[in-house]
Symmetry: C2
Subunit: 250 residues, 2 copies
């Protein structure tokens, strides 16, 4: 489960050699499984099942779920446990609007403060993204997601604001979940790379207004596709973890 892409170091703020804990592992795996829709929206997250599935004790799992609920990927209800946050058109449109604002602001700052190595990282990230887009299609959906995320993260990474980066991560996580979700019933990608190239060029030219506008368009465009995919009949490609346990009556 939770296939661990090499590149999915994901957006971990300041990477120090920090001995990890099981709770952290649980957090990362659950997060990945929810974002990738391996755990479908609305799925009841029974502790007992998770214990079996991930081979972890209850405490680390509860800790992880608590953290995820603060990130709006999981909903925790009083004495009724946890479930994967429900998906809705209204919700994704809300998220998109906020992301546009926050990521736009961060991009503006990044363009103001970014130095040479930021530019270099940006070029590199966009190149890796282009490579995976030119090559395989669906084969590498996970890889595409990872590189796409990395590109967007690099875009804002020079904004000099840990706080903003934190918010951006929360928003990306939610947005990416919807993308993956709607991708299940959608033809692959349009010529996406084009817009990324344009954003890159605007950023390198330090044209903040243009870059932010392009980024906004990009997000709006993606949101439109996502909404379309959500409304479309869900091609169920898998029985995603609908409390598989069995045995008893009913």
């Amino acid at each position: 489960m939770a296939l661990d892409l090499d590149e999915s170091k994901m957006v971990s703020p300041s990477a120090e050699a920090e001995s990890t804990t099981l709770a952290n592992e649980a957090f990362e795996r659950l997060r990945a499984d929810i974002i990738s829709s391996r755990l479908a929206p609305g799925t009841k997250l029974r502790l007992h099942n998770l214990r079996e599935a991930y081979g972890l004790g209850l405490s680390p799992l509860r800790e992880a779920l608590s953290r995820l609920s603060e990130n709006r990927l999981v909903v925790a209800t009083g004495q009724r446990g946890f479930r994967v946050r429900e998906a809705s058109v209204q919700d994704i449109m809300d998220i998109a609007m906020v992301r546009k604002e926050v990521e736009g602001f961060a991009l503006r700052l990044s363009i103001r403060y970014g130095d040479d190595s930021w530019e270099a990282e940006l070029v590199a990230a966009r190149h890796k993204l282009a490579l995976v887009e030119r090559a395989g299609r669906e084969v590498a959906e996970d890889l595409w997601e990872a590189r796409h995320r990395e590109f967007h993260h690099t875009l804002v990474s020079a904004c000099q604001s840990p706080c903003l980066l934190h918010l951006q991560r929360i928003l990306s996580d939610q947005f990416d979940r919807y993308r993956r979700l709607s991708a299940q019933s959608r033809i692959p990608n349009a010529p996406r790379s084009l817009i990324h190239k344009e954003i890159l060029e605007a950023a390198l030219a330090r044209d903040a207004d243009r870059a932010v506008t392009l980024l906004g368009d990009h997000i709006s465009e993606a949101t439109k596709l996502i909404v379309a995919g959500l409304s479309a009949p869900q091609e169920s490609r898998k029985k995603t973890a609908r409390t598989p346990k069995t045995g008893s009556t009913r």
Copy 2:
């Protein structure tokens, strides 16, 4: 401990009758104690001490601390436990900048979408704030904080964006902690209410540009005071929970 103001229903999104858990209680109490600086920045949060102080088991406490760490009030380090997030001038300036942007955006939306009862709530919130400002001074610092927070929350509450409200809460929490922190070594408040009245009036007049500008000024002004208070020699008013160890000393 953790004096529970009547008004501190705080910003709880959709208030439903939901049976609470000990973990939730721990979260609220720790959050309140950190924001109010009863737990000073940098304080090591030893689980055994907390267990004693709050009379709770380890699991609820760990859960609460995990959640708080996602809210940037607590820092969790690998196998080295938790501590209250350190305070710094750089950090508060970062927070203030982001809050200005996010809350400004939310206010703009609120002004667009707010209806009659929003206006009414706004007037009411500002009135309660004015009352507490006119009356006692330091006596009611907690009360002032609660009503101030409520006023700001009401300002943005009509923005129709749960996502934005979530971010606003995270930012307010952090900002408020700094205010309380620096208030320890600062003369009380300037004529703050004036600016609130101006914001209120701009909002009622549906003058979004003016309201957002005023709000921005308000935040900048507050930040200036906070930074001044932070740099000033800390009048230590209490040995704030430096791993007290021995029996109950008040």
